[in-house]
Amino acid sequence: MTEAATTDPVHDFIAKAVADHPVILFMKGVPDQPRCGFSQQVVQILDQLGVDFVGVDVLQSEPLRQGIKAFSDWPTIPQLYVKGEFVGGCDIVREMYQSGELQDFLQQQGVVAS
């Protein structure tokens, strides 16, 4: 039930990516061309809020697609990380956006202008 061993190169890649990028979205497709509706929704929300983020297309690598699920211990994609913290998937991001919680959270994290 714990995260994959650190000797796993996919785990290490994900850990480094999460550490290197303040806002990173593991998604299907790329931000300019999402390849699923859930990923598209999260991209639209982040764009709407003016968030500078990095998108990682998990469809380019099956080990990565499975690895991100193991890394976060969360079964669905997309997955949003902010400052190393797993925030959630599409449902969570959308609910946070609709309630205003996401804007507040991103401001607190210093990844969008106040």
Partner: protein
């Protein structure tokens, strides 16, 4: 999971006593493994009920994503168990891990459980990120 679980210093620990009933005893003469799982759930629900406000309890729901149980010392009829529970260091998005330990009257660990709970909106059933103010209730 093999080391005996223990709460970090300063972590709030919630406690309940559990009295084995004849129906809990299995063919091996001790409390059946499944009973501990029910007790772990009872502990978690009681802890939530003791710490969360009525508004929070109405606003939020919890579902289980995973249980992981270790069994050590058999517990027999007439031996009351001490159940202890506390939360993990921090939630991960909608997930908030909970640790549970059951002790026999001699203090030995009978069973311990790590459960992954997921916060949900009870109306939609969809996961929600655990808010910081909720974390502060338990840490």
């Amino acid at each position: 999971m093999s080391a005996v679980l223990a709460p970090p210093d300063g972590r709030e620990v919630f406690e309940l006593a559990f009295e084995p009933q004849p129906a809990h005893i299995d063919a091996n003469g001790h409390v059946n493994n499944v009973v501990y799982l029910a007790w772990a759930q009872d502990l978690a629900i009681a802890h939530w009920g003791a710490r969360a406000s009525a508004d929070d309890q109405a606003r939020w729901g919890w579902i289980v994503l995973r249980h992981e149980v270790d069994y050590r010392r058999p517990l027999k009829l007439g031996e009351a168990a001490r159940g202890l529970t506390w939360v993990a260091d921090a939630p991960k998005g909608p997930r908030f891990d909970r640790l549970v330990r059951f002790e026999a009257p001699d203090g030995a660990m009978c069973a311990q459980v790590r459960t992954v709970w997921c916060l949900v909106d009870p109306d939609s059933g969809r996961p929600r990120r655990v808010p910081p103010e909720m974390v502060s209730l338990f840490i």
